[in-house]
Each structure stands twice: as structure tokens, then as C-alpha cells.
């Protein structure tokens, strides 16, 4: 009897927490782009006569946004279906290189080796197209700290297991010298590889330097004793909410309603802050494939901008530079052009609780898509 009762209480709590995910206080502000859509972009530009199925797979961070993009796209081109399998970024790139996908969703651009492999599959190689912007929230569960600020180096020390107690002076220093009561810190993170951790470690390596010896671009955090690993981003968010003294990196969009989120380097997590970080900190650094739009964040620049939230998360769609099938090319390009429009970004960001890409990036994406053969 006890079993079922406690079970259903937990389940109700879980469902309730998830049900309220949409109402996170930190997601209310929006950054609608200023450029007014002209008649031939966005939803108006979609050819209603398009038909077919787009097969894609990869990043699970993108899945909700892809639902939004494709629902909007199919509202005009009713004959088009998107089949997106959120198997994981690595799997998406793997299957894309194997030639079985029309595009891959990936939280990381192709690696050097993968770029070479992709060039063997597709004449002219493959292009990384930025499509999805969000931020990594530092969610914590410490009742004594209704607000919390953490600097990059403190965060790095927490995630590396160097700071293990909430009463640590480093945390006090970040919060105006006010020390928290002693309580053990439990770091919660994902057991599978994820773009969330990759973007988080990029930030830690960029902002904390020697305090984060593990380096950037890590899909999984190095395991430390006592670290709590959960499968999937939603499970991490639920776990942090349940464990007293827990902290962890969570997709901004996966935050649940009661979640308490720390400021990083004095900046609160807001959509505007993420967009600001993208605008000031992101620079395209293409790989060897002409037209590639992969890039990186300059965390020093972001830190200098007091309005920019320092841990943005950028996700790419990877497409062939040359399509073999003309019909497929028309379909996939039409879809990606839509994603790169304000309408498309708005549809995705509304569905996923994420942030729209700035116009400067969207313009470059549109220009690149025009070069695809």
C-alpha cells in the first residue's frame, strides 16, 4: 500500500513539475528581431506544392524546435513530413556521413575527421548550419540561497569536485561575502553525451582556464566521486529539483517551473542575455569546406559584455554541400530556408522555449543555402 501511494505521489510531483515547465519565470522575456518580414520570406515563401518526407536525426536538444519548424512548414506545404529521430548528436553525424539522412542535427559541428569522411560521401563535403540557440542553465537546489551567483572559476571547481560544500568561501565571495550554511554539494549531470555539457565545458575552459583542467568541448563531464548521473536532460532537471544541495547544467528549455537558477558571472539567465551573448561572442570559423558556417564563442568577449549570459548553447543542422537528388535538394533547402527565416525561428523558439537566432546569422545562413548545389 505504501509502495503505491508513495509512487503515485512521486509521479504526480513529476508530472506536475513537467506540466509547468512552460511557465519558467526566466523564459518570459523575448527578443523578437526587428527586421520586418518581406513578402517572400518565412511562411510566405514556402511552396505549398512541395511533397515528401525529410529524414533527419541527431541532437535531442533540437527535437522540440524541429517539431515547431516542421509543424509551421507543413501548415503551408501540407504534403511534407519531417521524420526526426533524436538519437543523439554523434549518432546523427554518424548516420549522416553514412548517407542515410537528409540532414543531421548536431550540437557540435563536424570534427576534422568527420569533415573528411563527409567529403567522401558527398561531393563538396557537408556544411554546418547554425539553426538553434539556447542557453545552459545552472540549476541548483539550496533552500538557503534564494538567489545565487557563481563565477566561472567557482563553477569549474564545483564541477571538478574541488568545491564540495555550499559553505565554501569561494561561493561566499561570489555572493557578496555572505556564506551559506554547510551542506554537501551534489553535482548532477547526464550519463549520456550531450550538447549541453559540451557547451558548458566550452564555457568552463574559456572562462575558468586552469580551474577547469579537463578542457573544452566535452560531451560528458569527467566523473567525480559522488556525482549523480541521469539519463537525459529532463531527468537531470527533475533530479536537481529533488536532491537537497544539488547543482547541475540543464538546457534552458528543459527547466521546470519551480527550478532555481543561478546567475553566472553576475548575469541572470534570460532570452535577451542569450541573444546578446550570441551577438557579441559568436564568430564563424569555417572548417575546410567552403561555405561552412561552424563557429565558436569567444568567452572573454562575452564576459566583457555585462548583459550577455555567458553559457549560450548553439546547435547545427548539417547538410550536404551538393545534393544528388534534385527533388530532395529542393525539399531540404526549402525547409532549411524556412528555419533560417524569422517565421521559422519564431515557430521553433516558441515550441521549444528557446531563443531566436539573430538576423546577422540568419542572413549568412540564407546566403550559404543559396550556394548549395
Amino acid at each position: 500500500m505504501k509502495i503505491t501511494r508513495s509512487g503515485s505521489i512521486a509521479a504526480v510531483a513529476l508530472v506536475g513539475a513537467l506540466a509547468l515547465a512552460g511557465c519558467s519565470a526566466s523564459t518570459t522575456s523575448t527578443t523578437t528581431s526587428s527586421a520586418a518580414p518581406t513578402s517572400k520570406v518565412g511562411l510566405n515563401a514556402i511552396d505549398p506544392s512541395l511533397t515528401g518526407t525529410i529524414t533527419a536525426a541527431g541532437s535531442s536538444a533540437q527535437v522540440a524546435a524541429q517539431t515547431g519548424y516542421s509543424a509551421a512548414f507543413s501548415s503551408v506545404a501540407t504534403g511534407v513530413t519531417l521524420n526526426y529521430n533524436p538519437e543523439g548528436s554523434g549518432g546523427g553525424r554518424k548516420d549522416f556521413i553514412a548517407g542515410s539522412l537528409d540532414f543531421a542535427g548536431s550540437d557540435a559541428p563536424l570534427s576534422a575527421a568527420e569533415t573528411t569522411q563527409a567529403a567522401a560521401t558527398f561531393p563538396g563535403g557537408a556544411l554546418d548550419i547554425p539553426v538553434y540557440l539556447d542557453g545552459v542553465a545552472i540549476q541548483y537546489n539550496e533552500k538557503d540561497a534564494s538567489t545565487l551567483n557563481l563565477s566561472g572559476s567557482t563553477l569549474a571547481k564545483i564541477f571538478a569536485g574541488k568545491i564540495t560544500n555550499w559553505s565554501d568561501p569561494a561561493i561566499a565571495t561570489d555572493n557578496g561575502g555572505k556564506a551559506l550554511p554547510s551542506k554537501k554539494i551534489t553535482v548532477v549531470t547526464r550519463s549520456d553525451s550531450s550538447g549541453t555539457m559540451q557547451n558548458l565545458t566550452n564555457y568552463l575552459a574559456g572562462a575558468a582556464g586552469s580551474d577547469w583542467p579537463a578542457g573544452p568541448n566535452l560531451g560528458t563531464l569527467p566523473q567525480i566521486t559522488g556525482m549523480d548521473l541521469q539519463k537525459g536532460g529532463a531527468a537531470v532537471a527533475t533530479e536537481i529539483a529533488a536532491v537537497d544541495g544539488a547543482i547541475g547544467g540543464v538546457d534552458h528549455s528543459a527547466l521546470t517551473s519551480g527550478a532555481t537558477v543561478a546567475s553566472v558571472d553576475g548575469v541572470k539567465l534570460t532570452n535577451a542575455g542569450i541573444a546578446e551573448a550570441m551577438a557579441t561572442g559568436f564568430a564563424i570559423k569555417p572548417n575546410s569546406t567552403p561555405g561552412d558556417l561552424s563557429g565558436a564563442f569567444d568567452y572573454t568577449k562575452i564576459k566583457a559584455d555585462t548583459k550577455a549570459y555567458p553559457i549560450p548553447l548553439l546547435s547545427y543542422d548539417i547538410i550536404p554541400a551538393t545534393f544528388k537528388d534534385a527533388a530532395k535538394k529542393k525539399l531540404v533547402l526549402a525547409y532549411l530556408e524556412f528555419i533560417a527565416s524569422t517565421d521559422g525561428q519564431k515557430a521553433g523558439a516558441t515550441k521549444a522555449n528557446s531563443v531566436q537566432l539573430p538576423d546577422s546569422i540568419l542572413k549568412q545562413v540564407t546566403a550559404t543555402l543559396a550556394t548549395v548545389k
Binding site: M1, K2, T4, S70, A72, T350
Partner: protein, 369 residues
């Protein structure tokens, strides 16, 4: 019949038929006392609300008490008997709790989702142009079809192979035949193949034969075949062995050929058991998740009933994916799909079982009761 028994007690005396017996409802009283004691202990610790805890402790105390009581009053043999019976009862009660709890968890979470709209439609995403909002409407029809197609293909391949192999083992191969011994052994080994290995096998097979990144229903069905065939062989072998030898001999004596004897007499006689075996084999694989996800991929909204081309969803995979990746703006929809598809899966198994029973009852020859 009990009160004076205790006075005869003497530790060294051999027990006879006339030794004492515990009162008839002693077990109930001891159980009540033990659970009460368990509750008291937990109350002492300040955890009276931890019902399951004191039930477990109570069960333990009960076993100890009944063992001691019985060995004092009834002697070693009867005490052992009573103790074992209590142990079996307690094991059963303790084990049935999680099993029922599992079913209850699924039913209670899933029952409200089961509407015709949910069952017979794919998940729909409705885009509102004015607000840019996309509203999801839950639906699992593609997963139901995918489950039936993949499991169906696996069953169509595995059940005949398994049955024929069992026929060979029981009807044709001599007990001393080395191939028979090898096949029997390999079937046993095959029953122990972890399901993930079967999934990896299908993945490797299609990667090498068709090309990397091949996801389709057939691949998943082949993974399931690896799991189903041995189950089917074992189940049907057991059933065929139960067919009385006299039936075969009678058929031969009437001049019936061997294969007709097997088909008309042996298989016919054991049809009920074979159908049950087939159902168990299906039930064994219908809820597999990881191998199917590895082999068949996953499609969230697209309806695909073609096992040869493109990713296919099954109920178990849909349940898993929706739990792992809840929709950020409409988590209720993905939660509903996660629990609803799990419940539908269980319901499908129940329906299959009922069909199997009806079939078995119809085709089984009128047997002695």
C-alpha cells in the same frame, strides 16, 4: 486437541503422530502480532509512516516466530513444513506487491490517456500562424502499427522455425544423435542471449549488407527473431514431449505416415500448449526497447507501415523516447504518450493471450479432464 499437547513437551523425545499441534489459526495470530511488533519497532525509530518497512520487518519476525513456536510444539518435521509453507506464503506476498505495483503504476498513469483520438491517430502538431505556437495532440497509432508489424514479422518467421526445430528434436532426432545434442545445447545458449546483443546483431547485419545507418522494421524483426526462436523451440519441445507415445503408436498402427502423424496427431494434441508457447514467445519480445531502437530507429510523427523502408516506432520505444525527451512546452502530451503507450502494450498482450486461449480451446481435441 491442542492444550494438553504442550504438557507432553520434552526436548529429547521422538515426535510421534500424537505430538502436539499448534492451534488452527495460529498463523493468523502470529502474523498480526509480528506486524504489530514491526510497527512498534518502526514507531520507536520514529518512522511509523514507513508502512512497507514494518511490513517487511513484520514478515521476518513472523517467520522467526512461527519457526520457533512450531519447533517447540510440533517437532522438527512439522515445524520445517510449517516454516517452509510460511516462507512460501511470505515470499509470494512480498513479491506480488512489486508486481501488482508495476501494473498499477502503468494503469493509473495510462488509463486517462486512452481515448480513440489517442489510439487511432498519429501525434499531431498544429501550428497557429497568429501566435507561432505549435500545439501537440497526443497519438500513438504509428507505434501500435509498428509494434504489430515488427512483432508480426518476427512471429511469422520464428514460430514455424521454432516449431519445426522442436519437431525435429522430439520426433526425428535420436537421443544419441550428436547434432541433436548440439542443437539442444545451442538453443539453451540462445535463450540466454541478452536482447541488446540481438539488437546489435541486426544493426551489424544491416550495416554490412545494406549500408550504415539503415533503420527499418525488418531489421528490428530479425533482432526479435533471435530472441523468439529459442523460446519457441523450448516451449514447443516441452509440449511435444508431453504427447503420449501411445497416440503416435496408434497412428502408425493404422498405417498413417509419419509426417501426417506428426501434423494430425502430435501437433494437434499439443496445440493448446503450442499456442500458449507461441504467445509466450511473442510476449517475451513485444516489449523490447533497446534492440528495436538500435535496429529500427524512431519516428515521432510520421506514420510508417512499411517494414522495408524507413524508421519505425514501436510502443515501447515511444514510451521510452517520450519519457526521456519530454516536450518543453507541453510535457503533459509526452507524459501521456509515455504512459499510454506502455498501457496499450500491456493491453495488446492481454488481448493476444485471450485470443490464444480461445484458439487453443477451439482446436484442442477433447481431452480427458
Amino acid at each position: 486437541m491442542t492444550t494438553q499437547a504442550q504438557t507432553n513437551y520434552s526436548p529429547s523425545a521422538q515426535r510421534t503422530l500424537t505430538t502436539g499441534r499448534l492451534p488452527r489459526f495460529i498463523e493468523v495470530w502470529v502474523a498480526v502480532a509480528a506486524i504489530a511488533a514491526g510497527a512498534l519497532v518502526f514507531a520507536g525509530f520514529g518512522h511509523l509512516d514507513y508502512v512497507a518497512g514494518w511490513l517487511v520487518l513484520g514478515a521476518f519476525l513472523y517467520l522467526v516466530a512461527i519457526g520457533i513456536l512450531a519447533s517447540i510444539v510440533e517437532g522438527r518435521r512439522r515445524a520445517t513444513d510449517r516454516f517452509v509453507r510460511s516462507l512460501v506464503f511470505v515470499a509470494f506476498l512480498l513479491a506480488i506487491i512489486p508486481l501488482v505495483s508495476t501494473l498499477w503504476t502503468v494503469v493509473s498513469h495510462g488509463i486517462t490517456t486512452l481515448t480513440p483520438q489517442f489510439i487511432f491517430n498519429p501525434e499531431k502538431a498544429q501550428f497557429d500562424r497568429a501566435t507561432s505556437e505549435t500545439k501537440l495532440v497526443a497519438g500513438v497509432w504509428p507505434a501500435i502499427v509498428g509494434t504489430l508489424v515488427i512483432t508480426g514479422i518476427a512471429a511469422v518467421i520464428s514460430i514455424p522455425i521454432g516449431l519445426l526445430a522442436a519437431v525435429w528434436l522430439t520426433e526425428y532426432a535420436l537421443p544419441g544423435n550428436p547434432v541433436r545434442r548440439i542443437v539442444t545445447f545451442l538453443v539453451d545458449v540462445m535463450t540466454g542471449i541478452p536482447s541488446i546483443v540481438a539488437g546489435l546483431f541486426a544493426f551489424a547485419l544491416f550495416t554490412l549488407l545494406v549500408g550504415p545507418g539503415t533503420f527499418n522494421g525488418l531489421s528490428a524483426a530479425i533482432a526479435l527473431c533471435v530472441l523468439m526462436i529459442p523460446t519457441m523451440v523450448r516451449a514447443s519441445e516441452e509440449m511435444l514431449k508431453l504427447v503420449p507415445l501411445e497416440l503416435r503408436e496408434a497412428a502408425y498402427a493404422l498405417g498413417v505416415s509419419k509426417w501426417r502423424t506428426i501434423v494430425k496427431v502430435v501437433l494437434r494434441t499439443s496445440v493448446a500448449g503450442l499456442v500458449t508457447g507461441g504467445m509466450l514467445a511473442v510476449a517475451r519480445v513485444i516489449g523490447e526497447t533497446a534492440p528495436i531502437y538500435i535496429a529500427a530507429g524512431y519516428t515521432r510523427t510520421a506514420f510508417n507501415a512499411d517494414p522495408l523502408h524507413g524508421a519505425m516506432s514501436t510502443l515501447a520505444v515511444v514510451s521510452y523516447r517520450n519519457y526521456i525527451d519530454p516536450d518543453p512546452t507541453q510535457p503533459a502530451v509526452t507524459q501521456a504518450e509515455a504512459w499510454g503507450s506502455a498501457l496499450i502494450l500491456i493491453i495488446i498482450v492481454v488481448i493476444l493471450n485471450l485470443i490464444a486461449r480461445v484458439v487453443a480451446a477451439r482446436f484442442a481435441p477433447k481431452a480427458r479432464r
